[in-house]
């Protein structure tokens, strides 16, 4: 089992404390397809040194490739990526430094991915930021403006971000429309890029690349089906195509005839859509 490693660093001057910092998240090495325009815009937002760089957010429906876009940015910039996962139980200290009891009574300070990214000059990607309660996000105010500092009241230190530190966040459009971000964060996380569904052809290309399906007959049928879909996300296309390929293998269909492929697609789609109900 792969578990993330932590390295100890000493922070604070008057009262130094040892803090365990997480290692970067592993970057998937999958090929990135499409969204070149967004990549250029994200690069433009991050252009410059220190406080010149703008922290942006990506807004869009699930599965359209927001995370993949950030992975690709990290790969291109060759910077370590640290991911903070937003959820409804997130607390303010989760973003800076938390503590745990080790060996019975000894307190160990555990730094957040955000802290690690700030210290090491990495990219901090806050996924699903719309799901985090606004009081938990208040620490980000000083991180995302010109101060570029993060304070942990618990451990008693303030750190200033490395000049290479970059921050971005992603949220689903449902969260954005239900209330969005608190206004102080809405101000600081701009530009806000809205990502929509890619074209069906692009979604199929991504799915084919990710699943490794090369059966041209199957792909043609799938492409024909996808062309009729208005909101086919790459994630859903990957799931469908992968499942389709597995079904074909299970039925030992070496040569998928158009009619067999059509039947398979209908079967699989029924599993993946409301029609299953």
């Amino acid at each position: 089992m792969h578990a993330k490693r932590f390295a100890s660093v000493v922070l604070g001057e008057d009262h130094p404390v040892a803090v365990l910092l997480p290692e970067p998240d592993p970057l998937p090495q999958s090929r990135f397809i499409g969204h070149e325009g967004f990549l250029a815009r994200c690069e433009a937002a991050w252009f410059g040194e220190g406080s010149e760089a703008l922290h942006f957010r990506l807004v869009g429906p699930p599965g359209v490739g927001k995370n993949e876009l950030v992975y690709e940015l990290a790969r291109r910039r060759q910077q370590p990526l640290y991911i903070v996962q937003g959820h409804e139980e997130l607390m303010p200290e989760d973003l800076a430094c938390t503590a745990r009891l080790a060996d019975g009574q000894r307190v160990e300070y555990v730094g957040s991915p955000l802290l690690a990214a700030m210290l090491r000059g990495g990219i901090c990607f806050f996924d699903e930021i719309g799901k985090a309660p606004s009081r938990a996000l208040s620490l980000l105010a000083s991180v995302l403006d010109d101060r570029r500092t993060l304070t942990s009241v618990l451990a008693g230190f303030t750190v200033r971000a490395h000049s290479a530190f970059r921050f971005c966040a992603a949220m689903n459009d449902g969260d954005a429309s239900a209330g969005g971000l608190p206004s102080f964060l809405d101000e600081r996380l701009r530009p806000a890029f809205t990502m929509g569904y890619p074209s069906p052809a692009q979604a199929v290309a991504i799915a084919a690349s990710r699943t490794g399906v090369q059966d041209s007959a199957l792909l043609d049928r799938f492409r024909a089906w996808a062309a009729s879909q208005k909101t086919l996300s790459p994630r859903r296309a990957i799931g469908l195509l992968g499942y389709l390929a597995r079904m074909r293998d299970m039925h030992a269909l070496d040569d998928v005839t158009p009619s067999a492929a059509k039947r398979l697609i209908e079967e699989v789609c029924a599993v993946f859509t409301d029609r299953a109900a």
Partner: protein, 693 residues
């Protein structure tokens, strides 16, 4: 213009030939031409226009600007085409027509050639009695598809930064492969021949042409100037029988969409005003763009789309990086300016800025003819001007220029839509995107109300920091000899158990002071019109109401509204008699409203917003949510009424909601739908303002 490095022209050796080679429809070149004429009193102004245009037509074109339009010529034989007819409003249209290929000469003040034609008039106060000879020196030809015409247009402001000669050299590199020979060769030879004659006569000539032609022309002049000068002046090609020119008005927005009005029409118009006031020499395109953004900030604030300083600073920063990445000094409207405004400030601000950017006075109807854009069955565009039809291909403004016109609401239904509406026994219903917005805002209101009714408690630290260290409890524990650390946690309020069952009434007070013009209520099952068993889902007090065009769509400006069951109905096609009855049945009878509050004797003591809150209290469980400005006060009688009924009023400030979402909530529509449970007619979307939030 900022101080121009070098001259506003390129002089050919030591002759009297001065050229302003430029890119068509780019403002800086038009400004250069005017500046050139201000500095030197030329004898001749030669322009790259077909020699078949008479002096009279050249004068008419010069007099047409600053309106936007085109001179429409035609070529080739007539061809029979089939038209797509959108409606029966223009029954005069035959389905099959004879059309010629249209050849359009765009007329806009942003074009250097048009500027050259206008110079004598614009500079009349500067040069007394200046009447240069204005000559069209090009040959007439059919439009050609250029290999490089899909190149992105370079930023003309580069001229103001680096000078005309440096720009010309860079253009030549980019232009490689953009020629169409032998046509371009023939045209350049003809233009060179004219210019050689002027040089031989010792005249001072201002030559205005496309940037791609200047170098080949100079090469021709270098090689054989005497030969060119001696060449017989080519006769003007005779016009074909039945062919005539049309001066046609083009809406400025359409002209911009076709790439004729520089990047930003409002900036072109500001330049035009500077020309009239005699300040065009010091006018600077980049500064004008900045002034436009400043004006946009003011307009947006007036329209309740305020832009904070931080957002504006981000927009400026991001916009500058985008420009640098594109190698430009001035922004393209959609790709740079509006994109940065939308992503860094807000959609409302971006929309207002775009409207402001596209402001340009419409053409004078008396100077030119109007046209109608039609589509042929095979997908081509056709123009009808008077009784003639022309096949037409607009100029491509360049790949990726991203020019988009903001959608304008349709003013009327098309004939098929009107027929479908007349034939069906349609009914009114709500507009699904508005319903979805309402649902989202209701969910948000209930979420915020939930969070309000939680208490902070401190517990000894074991693992997890909760909401942070409770310093007070920790100190107390240490003082008592217990070295425990306390952390804060939130828990639901015990004395006030789970605040919301997801069905509490929500009162939206959007404008408490507006005079009320109409009141109405929505009821379920709304579509069934079963008055006997109706159950009211929402009350509305509106400050304005009217019908949109001839569409039967009713639009209301809501001052305040009470949501009782609204937002609980299944959306889209899952709404039917069974699902609606199930929702209604889940409410106990005392929480079902069957009478409007303004008709309810038990609520007679309340008025205005208080009546809305009191009506919500009457049908509430144990609490109601009131969303309003924090300054809005609820009357003591209502509070007493709520206390008597053991109903808590939870106040939420408007700050917790997106301002644009609340603003859109204030606009409500009743729309026609073909059946009781069906979705509304699709065309309603053309009339109703988009729900963007």
């Amino acid at each position: 213009m900022r101080t121009l490095p070098g001259d506003p022209w390129i002089r050919y050796r030591d002759t009297g030939l001065y050229a302003v080679p430029g890119i068509h429809h780019r403002l800086v070149f038009a400004q250069l031409v005017l500046e050139a004429c201000r500095r030197k009193r030329f004898d001749v102004i030669a322009v790259e226009l077909p020699g078949s245009l008479s002096a009279d037509w050249l004068k008419r074109i010069a007099g047409f600007a600053p309106a936007t339009g085109m001179l429409l010529d035609s070529y080739g034989a007539r061809e029979q085409v089939r038209l797509v007819q959108e409606d029966d409003a223009d029954a005069a249209h035959p389905r099959r027509v004879l059309a010629r290929n249209g050849l359009a000469l765009p007329i806009t003040p942003a074009d250097s050639i048009i500027a050259a034609l206008r110079c004598p008039r614009l500079l009349a106060p500067h040069w007394k009695d200046w009447q240069p000879e204005v000559v069209a020196v090009d040959m007439a030809h059919a439009p050609v598809e250029r290999p490089a015409s899909r190149l992105r247009v370079m930023d003309d402001y580069e001229v103001a930064v680096r000078g005309l000669s440096a720009f010309q050299e860079r253009w030549n590199e980019a232009w490689l492969g953009g020629r169409v020979d032998p046509l371009d060769g023939l045209r350049e030879r003809r233009m060179a021949s004219h210019l050689a004659r002027f040089i031989a006569q010792g005249q001072d000539v201002l030559f205005v042409c496309g940037a791609g032609h200047w170098h080949p022309i100079t090469r021709l002049l270098d090689d054989d100037m005497p030969g060119l000068a001696a060449r017989r002046s080519p006769a003007t090609a005779p016009r074909g029988a039945g062919r005539r020119l049309h001066l046609v008005n083009v809406d400025p927005r359409v002209a911009w969409l076709w790439g004729w009005l520089d990047d930003i029409p409002a900036v072109v118009w500001e330049y035009e005003r500077a020309c009239v006031t005699g300040t065009s020499a010091s006018w600077d395109k980049r500064e004008a763009t900045r002034r436009l953004v400043t004006a946009g900030v003011g307009c947006a604030q007036r329209d309740r789309h305020p832009a904070s300083l931080r957002r504006l600073a981000k927009m400026d920063r991001y916009g500058r990086v985008l420009l640098a990445a594109a190698g430009r000094w001035t922004p393209e409207l959609d790709n740079h300016l509006i994109h940065s405004a939308e992503t860094c400030v807000s959609r409302g601000f971006a929309r207002r800025l775009k409207e402001l950017s596209l402001e340009y006075p419409a053409g004078r109807s008396d100077a030119g003819q109007s046209f109608r854009l039609l589509e042929t069955k095979d997908g081509r565009l056709a123009l009808r001007v008077g009784d003639e039809y022309f096949l037409f291909k607009p100029v491509d403004p360049g790949v990726g220029s991203g020019r988009r016109l903001p959608l304008r609401a349709a003013q009327r239904l098309t004939a098929p839509e009107r027929v479908a509406l007349t034939k069906s026994r349609w009914v009114y219903r709500d507009w699904p995107p508005e319903q979805a917005l309402h649902n989202r805002l209701l969910a948000r209101a209930r979420l915020l109300a939930h969070r309000q009714s939680r208490d902070d408690v401190a517990r000894p630290f074991t693992a997890g920091m909760g909401h942070g260290v409770s310093v007070r409890h920790t100190l107390r524990a240490w003082a008592a000899g217990r070295p425990d650390a306390y952390v804060r946690h939130a828990r639901p309020r015990r004395h006030d158990p789970p605040a919301c069952d997801g069905r509490c009434p929500v009162v939206w007070i959007l404008d408490a002071t507006a005079p009320i013009v109409t009141r109405f209520h929505g009821y379920v099952p709304r579509e069934a019109h079963s008055y006997r068993s109706r159950c009211i889902s929402a009350f509305y007090w509106t400050k304005g109401a009217h019908e949109l065009g001839d569409s039967h769509i009713q639009q209301y400006s809501v001052a305040y509204t009470v949501s009782l069951m609204r937002g609980l109905m299944p959306p889209g096609q899952r709404r039917n008699a069974a699902t609606v009855a199930s929702v209604v049945g889940s409410f106990p009878p005392h929480r079902r409203a069957t009478i409007a509050p303004w008709d309810d004797a038990s609520l007679r003591a309340f008025h205005g917003c208080d009546l809305a809150v009191a009506s919500a209290v009457k049908y509430a469980g144990d609490h109601v949510i009131v969303v309003s400005r924090s300054s809005h006060g609820i009357g003591a009688e209502v509070e007493s009424f709520a206390r008597d009924r053991r109903v808590r009023i939870i106040r939420l400030r408007r700050d917790g909601f997106e301002p644009s979402a609340l603003e859109r909530l204030g606009l409500d529509h009743n729309v026609p739908a073909p059946t009781h449970w069906g979705l509304p007619f699709e065309w309603c979307g053309r009339f109703i303002p988009e729900v963007e939030c």
